[in-house]
Symmetry: C2
Subunit: 442 residues, 2 copies
């Protein structure tokens, strides 16, 4: 008998297991494949490793302006993939160590929820006071004629290819599509992106999404374009009532993700649009059963899953906590990077908030200029006009992905303009753009 | 008649001028050389530009592990210096633009304070309701026999050299000494550092300073070493009662800085250890005269000077404000970088605070590992044991200099352990080490 059984060892499940273990709970973590889940094995971490290699490749080619010269700069894809695999396996080992350190039992099986709230894994039945569902999500494959063509793959397969394709078509201009577009175009693959909406990266301020897209100069973007069918390695799409096509070695489907619920079908769990329904304590409709992470469809990000795991464990342990979504940062690790936290100006308007916004161009920041010259990076701040509370911070350029945690702290702590003005930012650092954007409000 | 006259156009003076201009004050800024002061023209900004070039050079040479290969990687020092000069002149132009935008009059003269609180500049006398002294500091040149040798230079001259020396001896292992040691050793100069104390970078946690020093593998460090004399290009030092010497093309004096007070001698301003005495509103002992930045000897950092400028202007404008030093971040842009904010554990003990500390190794962070492998970076958190308030955050490795602003926000807002645990950090990012170090406290 366990205190908690967790289904799925991704960043939701393993963090929940760690926190529960820290609190002395007896925990069973059931994972059908590898600890770390999609994020660590087939998603965020391997792409970030490869994007780092791509960034180094670009820097080695184009740093003459900064005084660095080199001949015959080449990208060894096999070595980059080898390093990526080393990163993944090292980190998986780290999660395994964390589980042992916190006395979490790990079972490598597919776990199935049974009607009496027990879990079947292999031949055995396991019982616990509480169950946390953290089964994650998988790529959705939209019903496009010809999508079963052998040249069509998902992100998971793309991270396992043995050699670089000469060309790649990406269906979907969201985070996954854009990161792969950035990665492969930087290392010399001819990349096309087909996106149904008028702009890529829909969670982003329009103007900033446009910067990311237009900075990816070697990528062909087809916006407002609907994919009609795939024939072998050619994607046919229609745009403004005319049809066109693009042919490539590989076709990546990056058109959203769907909840993994196959192992939950024996229970009458409540769903909302295909995802498990949960309240702010991560409780499902069935007492004793919690759900966290992508399977809930709320904020499908690794770090949201981890935080949801902490909320579920706190709830189980009778410690007051609740999940809030207003201060969750996101980052896109394209070249250039982008990141944001809280409301965009448009979202604030849509939710009826009266806001002011401030803006600062990164090229006026001395460290940014020293490292990038006149790039197009920027920082935008959105504040509640009545209270002065900062409700959104958005960045594109430089190490945006590393600055956004500071922004999340500001939004989480509900700091006001006047309070942020008193935070001292180190000079010369890119982080100063946040302070400067706040000052631009006056 | 002006509202405010500011003596010195560095990051203290020009930010004070900008803020006062924003508030509609009539401001005269008197600068004897170039807007931006030492920081922009001869200090932080040019060194960061050159350190960026050095970092790119290192990456271009040693990225085989990540799949990036190149032949004949070379460092074009003239081009790196040319780019550095472009960065400086572009940013100086930016400050000039800011002054015009905020209707600040700028006078390029040496301004001298007169006994009636007026200022003489050239032939003319200027008067104002308030005067802000922001005259900054200059390198101290310690009274070492032979220090007037032609091979001995300060940081200012070192930033203007035409070609790389083959060897460089640095007297002083503080921030300036260490940044130059990192820069020049990375681009192939044989560097030696002579430091009087048992460890370099005295404001840093000992253990972390040791990491920075030992990561600079090509630099020879002589600690606990007292410089006795210089003969031509040879520095003689004694250590453990025996004398030794090191010879090099150039010798950099990086042994602290002294206040620039030459233009203030006609007034009876109060001093403390050679620096102007001020209270928390930046008032000197003479009514109507304020002092900010390096000339006060308090927190000799560009961003501290800027914040002091804001406090002085707020005080002049009857807006309540006061200067606090507990949440000022610092950063050292060596390779690897280091940064900190608030108390070290030792400082906390010395000030009688009962503290707990938490620690996290960066190699266990997935982004750090992906980008650096098993490096020795770390994050340390110091908390008040009674209240749980976080009083210090210290980092070495990765983009520490960009993470420390988030840390400064946490310390400025006096967040507690339990509050920081609820801040969501993006995954995978290096910034997560702060959260992980906080979690290590439990």
């Amino acid at each position: 008998m366990y205190d908690i059984i967790i289904l799925g060892g991704g960043p939701g499940g393993y963090v929940a297991a760690e926190r529960a273990g820290q609190k002395g709970k007896k925990v069973l973590l059931i994972e059908k494949e590898t600890l770390g889940g999609v994020c660590l094995n087939h998603g965020c971490v391997p792409t970030k490793s490869l994007l780092h290699s791509a960034k180094l490749f670009k820097n080695a080619q184009f740093s003459g302006q900064y005084g660095v010269e080199a001949d015959n700069v080449s990208f060894n894809f096999q070595q980059a993939m080898h390093w990526k695999n080393t990163v993944v396996s090292t980190m998986v080992h780290g999660v395994d160590f964390l589980m042992k350190e916190h006395n979490v039992d790990v079972l490598y099986e597919e776990g199935t929820l049974l009607p009496d709230n027990s879990v079947q894994a292999g031949e055995k039945i396991y019982k616990a006071g509480s169950i946390i569902i953290a089964t994650g999500s998988s790529p959705s494959v939209p019903p496009i004629p010809g999508i079963d063509s052998s040249s069509v793959i998902t992100s998971r397969e793309l991270l396992q290819i043995q050699k670089l394709p000469s060309s790649l078509t990406i269906i979907g201009g969201g985070v996954i599509g854009m990161e792969f577009a950035s990665l492969f175009s930087t290392v010399g693959v001819k990349v096309s992106v087909i996106e149904m909406l008028p702009e890529v990266l829909p969670m982003m301020e329009d103007r900033m999404a446009r910067i990311v897209r237009t900075e990816m100069k070697d990528v062909d973007f087809y916006l407002n374009a609907k994919v009609d069918r795939i024939e072998n390695n050619t994607v046919f799409y229609s745009r403004e009532e005319s049809e066109a096509s693009v042919a490539s070695d590989l076709i990546l489907i990056a058109a959203g993700r769907k909840a993994n619920t196959g192992s939950l079908q024996k229970l009458n769990l409540a769903y909302r649009k295909g995802f498990l329904s949960v309240n702010e304590k991560m409780e499902t409709n069935i007492p004793g059963i919690y759900a966290i992470g992508d399977v809930t469809g709320k904020s499908m990000l690794a770090h949201s899953a981890s935080r949801m795991g902490e909320v579920a464990v706190n709830t189980i342990c009778d410690k007051r906590d609740r999940m809030r979504y207003n201060a969750i940062p996101w980052a896109v690790y394209t070249i250039p990077e982008a990141a944001g936290c809280g409301f965009t100006e448009k979202e604030a308007h849509e939710s009826g908030l009266n806001v002011h916004s401030g803006m600062f161009q990164m090229k006026n920041n001395s460290r940014y200029f020293a490292e990038h010259g006149k790039g197009r990076g920027m920082c935008k701040i959105v504040t509640d006009a009545e209270t002065g509370i900062i409700v959104g911070i958005h960045l594109v350029g430089g190490v945006s992905s590393e600055l956004i945690a500071g922004a999340a702290g500001i939004i989480e702590a509900e700091l006001r303009i006047e309070e942020v003005k008193q935070i001292v930012y180190p000079h010369p650092s890119l982080s100063e753009v946040i302070r400067d954007a706040v000052w631009s409000l006056t």
